[in-house]
C-alpha cells in the first residue's frame, strides 16, 4: 500500500473508514514509522482541539440560563393553523349567504306562484316540511289557537308554508347575524386587551 494521504488518516481518527480500508491502513502502519508519526500528529491535534472546548462551568448555570430564557418566550407558541381565528367569520358568512339565497328563492318562488307561473310554493314547502326531519321544529310553529282573521289566513297550507319559510330562513339569518356580531365584539375586545398587554 502507498502512503495514505492526510484525508485517510483523519478519517481513521474520526472512525469514518470502513472495515476493509481500516485493516489496510493498520497493516501499512505496522511497518511505516513515517505514517505512524503523521497519524500521531493528527491525533494530537484532534485531542488539542477537543481540550480547548469550554467546560460547562464556563457558561451561566442552567437555572440562570432558563430564567433568562423563560422571560423572553412568548406564552403560547404560534398556532399551527394561523387562519383558525378567521374561521368563525368565514363560516358564519357562508351560512348567512346560504340562508339569504334560500330566503330570496322562497320569495321569488312565492311571487311566481302568486302570478300563476308555478304551483303554490307555500303548499309545496308546507308538505315537504310535514315529511322532513324538521317536523318537530315545524310543530313548534303551528299555531294552536290563533284568534280572529289570522286563523283563517294561516289555516291555508300555502300561506302557512310561506310563513314557515320566512320564519326558518329569516330567523336563521337573524341568529347568524347575532353570532357574527358577538364574534366581532369578542374579537375587538381581545384585540384591544392584546394591544394593552403589548403596549
Amino acid at each position: 500500500m502507498e502512503h495514505p494521504n492526510d484525508l485517510i488518516l483523519q478519517m481513521h481518527i474520526d472512525g469514518e473508514l470502513d472495515e476493509e480500508a481500516r485493516q489496510r491502513l493498520q497493516a501499512h502502519l505496522t511497518h511505516c514509522a513515517t505514517c505512524r508519526e503523521r497519524l500521531r500528529g493528527w491525533e494530537l491535534l484532534s485531542q488539542t482541539i477537543q481540550a480547548s472546548a469550554p467546560p460547562e462551568e464556563a457558561f451561566s448555570r442552567s437555572g440562570i440560563f432558563w430564567a433568562r430564557l423563560a422571560g423572553k418566550l412568548p406564552q403560547k407558541p404560534p398556532s399551527p393553523w394561523p387562519w383558525a381565528p378567521y374561521l368563525p367569520p368565514i363560516l358564519l358568512g357562508l351560512a348567512a349567504i346560504c340562508l339569504d339565497v334560500l330566503l330570496t328563492l322562497a320569495f321569488g318562488l312565492s311571487t311566481l306562484a302568486w302570478l300563476g307561473f308555478l304551483p303554490s310554493f307555500g303548499s309545496t314547502f308546507y308538505h315537504w316540511l310535514e315529511g322532513s326531519p324538521f317536523k318537530s321544529l315545524f310543530s313548534l310553529f303551528i299555531p294552536q289557537g290563533i284568534p280572529g282573521p289570522w286563523s283563517q289566513l294561516i289555516a291555508s297550507p300555502g300561506t302557512m308554508g310561506m310563513v314557515l319559510a320566512l320564519v326558518f330562513f329569516g330567523g336563521g339569518l337573524l341568529v347568524v347575524t347575532v353570532l357574527y356580531l358577538s364574534w366581532a365584539l369578542c374579537w375587538t375586545r381581545l384585540d384591544r386587551s392584546a394591544q394593552k398587554g403589548g403596549g
Binding site: Q10, M11, P54, F59, F65, W66, L69, K72, L73, P77
Partner: protein
C-alpha cells in the same frame, strides 16, 4: 412493580409544541450545553454564545409547532445554532473584517494567539478559520458528530464535509506551528 420511565423526547417535543413550558425546560436542559459549546466554538465569546443560545431556544420554541422530525432534534438544533451564530458573525463583521482573512486593523486572532496559554492559542486559531470550515470542525471535534451528521446539519455533501475538515485541520496546524 415496574418503574414508570420519564417522558420520551418525542413526548416532550409534542408537549412543548402544545405550549407546555415544563416540557420545553427539560429539552433546554438536555441540549443547553451542546448549543452553548457549538455557539462558543463558532463565535469565540462566552457572552455572545449565551446570547446566541438564548436566540436559538426562542427560535426552537416558536418553531416547535411546525417541527416535523425528519432527522434528530439535535441535528435541527445544531443547524439553527450554526445559522444563528453565522448571522451574529455577519453582524459583527459589519464593524470587523471577515474570518480573519481580509483587512484586520486591530485584534487579529492570529496575533492574540501569541499572548495566551495553549488552550487560548487553540481557541484563537480556531477563530482565525473561515466560518464554514470552523463550523465543520466544531461539530466534529467538540460535538463528536459523524461526517454524515455534519453533512445533514450544514446541508452540504459528504465530500464537502471531508474537504472542509481537512482544510480546517491543516490550517489550524499551520497556525499553531507558527505560534509555538
Amino acid at each position: 412493580m415496574s418503574e414508570r420511565e420519564g417522558p420520551t423526547e418525542r413526548e416532550l417535543i409534542q408537549a412543548a409544541a402544545a405550549g407546555n413550558m415544563g416540557a420545553f425546560a427539560q429539552l433546554v436542559q438536555t441540549y443547553r450545553a451542546r448549543v452553548l459549546r457549538t455557539a462558543y466554538g463558532l463565535l469565540g465569546s462566552l457572552e455572545e454564545a449565551e446570547d446566541v443560545a438564548q436566540e436559538v431556544f426562542i427560535k426552537v420554541w416558536k418553531g416547535l409547532p411546525n417541527y416535523r422530525p425528519s432527522g434528530s432534534l439535535a441535528n435541527w438544533l445544531y443547524r439553527i445554532t450554526v445559522n444563528t451564530a453565522i448571522d451574529t458573525l455577519r453582524k459583527r463583521h459589519e464593524t470587523f473584517p471577515l474570518d480573519g482573512q481580509e483587512l484586520d486593523p486591530q485584534p487579529h486572532p492570529e496575533e492574540t494567539v501569541l499572548r495566551h496559554d495553549r488552550q487560548s492559542q487553540v481557541r484563537a486559531a480556531i477563530q482565525a478559520l473561515p466560518s464554514n470550515a470552523r463550523a465543520a470542525l466544531i461539530l466534529r471535534e467538540y460535538e463528536q458528530l459523524s461526517y454524515k451528521e455534519i453533512a445533514a446539519v450544514l446541508q452540504i455533501p459528504l465530500g464537502t464535509v471531508m474537504s472542509r475538515l481537512n482544510y480546517a485541520r491543516n490550517r489550524l496546524k499551520e497556525l499553531l506551528e507558527e505560534t509555538s
